[in-house]
């Protein structure tokens, strides 16, 4: 029962390795290093990398920027709640607000164009989960995250909240419509 007894040898660190252990450690180490270098590799050669661009902000300051965008670029409203659908110009800064319990406003983007998408929360923590394309990020109050996104599929995407944010969490949705360029 030696794993629950002191080692047989007083100088156990000089005990030689069995070949099976040495071989496996070598293989596992190589695999570990490959996995480690995959991440910087993807930063250079991959297309899906989150920027670390973010700013400290306040709900008031952020809301003012989002409101200005909505006032300028709203193209229509949807649902009985008159939710604005905003179509900002390609390349512009787009402000998405997460709050209890909606993603506001609805966005209309053009396929193949890049946008600087800003996201912040007005209250508690939220999870930005764009489905079905499946992009997920964490949204914090007091922080404005900036992502450059380039929609490459057209159609309707839904923003779901996937961080628990209270009793209305499961009703918190938003939309990004992607139109064919023209």
């Amino acid at each position: 029962m030696s794993a629950i007894q002191p080692p047989a040898e007083i100088v156990w660190w000089k005990q030689p390795l069995d070949k099976v252990e040495g071989t496996w450690i070598g293989i596992a180490l190589v695999w570990s290093l490959i996995m480690f270098f995959m991440m910087p590799f993807w930063h250079v050669y991959g297309k899906q990398n989150l920027s670390s661009e973010a700013y400290k902000t306040t709900p008031q300051a952020y809301m003012a920027k989002a409101q200005a965008m909505v006032d300028q670029y709203t193209v229509r409203t949807e649902t009985a709640a008159q939710l604005p659908v905003v179509r900002p110009p390609p390349g512009s800064d787009v402000y998405l607000v997460g709050r209890l319990w909606q993603w506001w406003p609805l966005l209309e983007l053009e396929k193949g164009q890049s946008y600087r998408l800003h996201i912040s929360s007005m209250d508690w923590q939220h999870g930005f989960s764009l489905q079905p394309v499946n992009i997920n990020t964490q949204i914090l109050p007091g922080y404005e995250m900036v992502l450059t996104v380039t929609p490459d599929t057209s159609g309707e995407q839904t923003i779901i909240c996937n961080e628990f944010c209270g009793i209305g969490h499961h009703n918190m949705l938003g939309k990004i419509y992607v139109t064919e360029g023209g």
Binding site: M1, S2, A3, I4, Q5, P6, P7, A8, E9, I10, W13, Q15, L17, D18, K19, V20, E21, T23, W24, A28, W31, S32, M35, M39, W42, K47, Q48, L50, S51, S52, T79, A81, W124, Q125, G127, S129, Q131, P132, V133, N134, I135, N136, T137, Q138, L140, P141, Y143, V149, T150, T153, N162, E163, F164, G166, I167, H169, H170, N171, M172, L173
Partner: protein, 570 residues
């Protein structure tokens, strides 16, 4: 020391110190009661997330999900771990436990914390999930309960350390501490780090909830909280790996292939596991890519390397022990002839395989900086940690319980037929459950969510039918696992409180003896590997390890390919 406080278990040869024994029993009993509470919550939560059943109303669901998370991830496991720490120090080193009175005080603090926290959640004013992310407020007693529990657990850690000091001082053992105690020491060191992080984040949050502090930064909270939240799962890893080694020794008389390798692997846990708080922050605003890559990979996957080493050395040591007994035919006779009807072994082996194949691979994949974009906060995440914490840790602790019932509690295991099947129900049910969650998460289904159909929302969204199928499989498999959990509770409660005593005598009043070193290895004719193949002492295990690696590489590659199909982001 007074000898009337010691007894020897005739079957195992283990020596118990009466005060330590009572404390272990108390902690284990509390742990099992918590497991029952968490298990009832698990049943109701699963029945709600199973779309065809959708049992609870939303408020009750979020409340019980909080109950389930806190009780299972913190209270059950850490309570059991304190019992393991006392076992690995006092029992394995044949030494008196340091300061039993303070240990009882620690026990009462932990119990008080459990009650205060659960009472707060029961009022419905603390349905904030285990993570209690600020600025979502909870009843102050939610945090207070966690703080009390943590202080108690911290005292327990120091009693473990003090007991090691006494054993060294009173020379109760020869040479170095046993490998299993070394693993427990690893768990203890990680626990001290974890609990300190918990204090740093929860004390201010508690004061904030009382109105003494007016703001807790959400990003700061997440970084420090996860040094508690993730590291506490690393205590589990170290503890359940120690339990694997212990069970291999108890059931097979297995010795580590090499003390040096196994101990170095434990040391890598101490050095690197705590960096993993980054796993939860990979898609948070503002953290640099360098910070994420270094931390999420535990430097350069050195803690993953450690787990891959244990994953080889534990079954490898069993293989060598079995081959020495003559099970040398082919590559796998040693495994076929293992005692699959003994739940101590079967539970441990399912724990090892499930932890590696399901929990380990999924954890590394989703902890890859960019791949996390397609997994963060989906139900894949609980799929992963049910494989690590439930199949890995909980099942390992369950299998150890079947050994402790006769040795520690001096009772016969009740309903042996149920006990024999229990690890299979629990392990296989939980494996399918975790896999179905990972499948649903890959399809984007969210975690911590009451209604995947969004019935009451202003806008609408429909998941593909396959996501509903996955969630249905999750529900069914969850029921199988719940049955397995209920079998465990039934067997342990009936054995301990109503069971027949074991027949042999084990009375107090023996003179203590020193823990002798293990017998030196007798190298067989033809060298160490003569009983094996290809010059390997454990060729079957090596082949299994290579199979594991192939699965790992393929699954890793598939996820990069999936990521590459997502919208370009920069």
């Amino acid at each position: 020391m007074s000898k009337e406080l010691f007894r020897t278990c005739p079957e195992s040869g283990l020596q118990f110190h009466k005060p330590a024994e009572l404390l272990m029993k108390a902690h284990a009993v509390v742990a099992v009661v918590i497991l029952l509470i968490g298990g009832i919550a698990a049943l109701l939560v699963t029945l709600t997330r199973w779309p065809a059943v959708h049992l609870l109303p939303a408020d009750r669901f979020y409340q019980l999900l909080t109950t389930h998370g806190v009780n299972m991830l913190i209270f059950w496991i850490i309570s059991f771990e304190i019992a393991i720490l006392y076992f690995c120090s006092s029992t394995l080193l044949k030494v008196r436990l340091a300061t039993p009175k303070i240990a009882w005080f620690a026990f009462l603090l932990m119990l008080a914390g459990i009650i205060v926290n659960n009472a707060a959640v029961a009022t419905g004013t603390a349905s904030v999930m285990m993570t209690s992310y600020v600025p979502m407020p909870a009843n102050p007693n939610f945090y207070l309960g966690l703080i009390l529990f943590a202080v108690g657990a911290l005292i327990g850690c120091f009693i473990f350390l003090a007991t090691l000091v006494i054993a060294k001082d009173e020379k109760t053992y020869e040479g170095s501490i046993p490998l299993v105690t070394f693993g427990a020491l690893t768990a203890c060191i990680i626990a001290v780090f974890t609990i300190a992080s918990g204090a740093i984040v929860l004390v201010p949050t508690w004061l904030w909830s009382l109105g003494y502090i007016n703001n807790i930064d959400a990003a700061m909270y997440r970084i420090v909280w996860w040094a508690l939240g993730h590291s506490s799962q690393q205590i589990n890893v170290a503890a359940h790996v120690a339990v694997w080694y212990a069970i291999a020794a108890i059931v097979f008389g297995a010795r580590p292939l090499s003390e040096k390798v196994s101990r170095t692997a434990f040391f890598l846990y101490i050095a690197f596991l705590q960096l993993a708080s980054a796993h939860h922050l990979l898609v948070d605003p503002g953290l640099s890519a360098e910070w994420k890559i270094f931390n999420t990979s535990y430097a350069m996957y050195l803690a993953v390397l450690a787990s891959m080493v244990h994953g080889l050395t534990v079954p490898g040591s069993i293989e060598v022990a079995q081959r020495a007994k003559g099970y040398t035919n082919g590559l796998f006779q040693w495994l076929r002839k293992a005692p699959w009807g003994n739940p101590v072994f079967s539970g441990m082996f399912i724990s090892l395989v499930g932890f590696g194949f399901l929990g380990g691979i999924s954890g590394v994949v989703m902890g890859t900086e960019q791949i996390n974009i397609i997994i963060h906060n989906t139900i894949y995440v609980p799929g992963h940690f049910h494989a690590t914490v439930v199949i890995g840790t909980t099942l390992a602790f369950m299998s150890l319980t079947y050994f402790l019932i006769p040795t520690l509690f001096r009772k016969q295991v009740a309903f042996p037929a149920i006990a024999r099947l229990q690890p299979y129900f629990f392990g296989i049910g939980m494996s399918v459950f975790a896999l179905a969650m990972m499948g649903a998460g890959t399809l984007g289904v969210e975690r911590r969510h009451w209604d995947m159909a969004f019935t009451n929302a202003t806008l609408s969204f429909e998941y593909p039918a396959s996501a509903y199928t996955m969630m249905g499989i999750m529900g069914l498999a969850g029921m199988v696992a719940i049955v397995g959990g209920a079998m465990y509770i039934l067997v342990t409660v009936v054995s301990v409180f109503f069971g027949k005593s074991v027949e042999s005598e084990s009375s107090y009043g023996i003179a203590t003896s020193r823990v002798m070193r293990a017998e030196p290895i007798v190298i067989p004719d033809g060298g160490h590997a003569a009983a094996g193949k290809w010059g390997f002492a454990a060729p079957g295990t090596f082949l299994l390890a290579i199979f594991f690696l192939v699965v790992f590489v393929l699954y890793y590659a598939v996820n990069w390919k999936y990521l590459a199909s997502v919208w370009p982001l920069s």
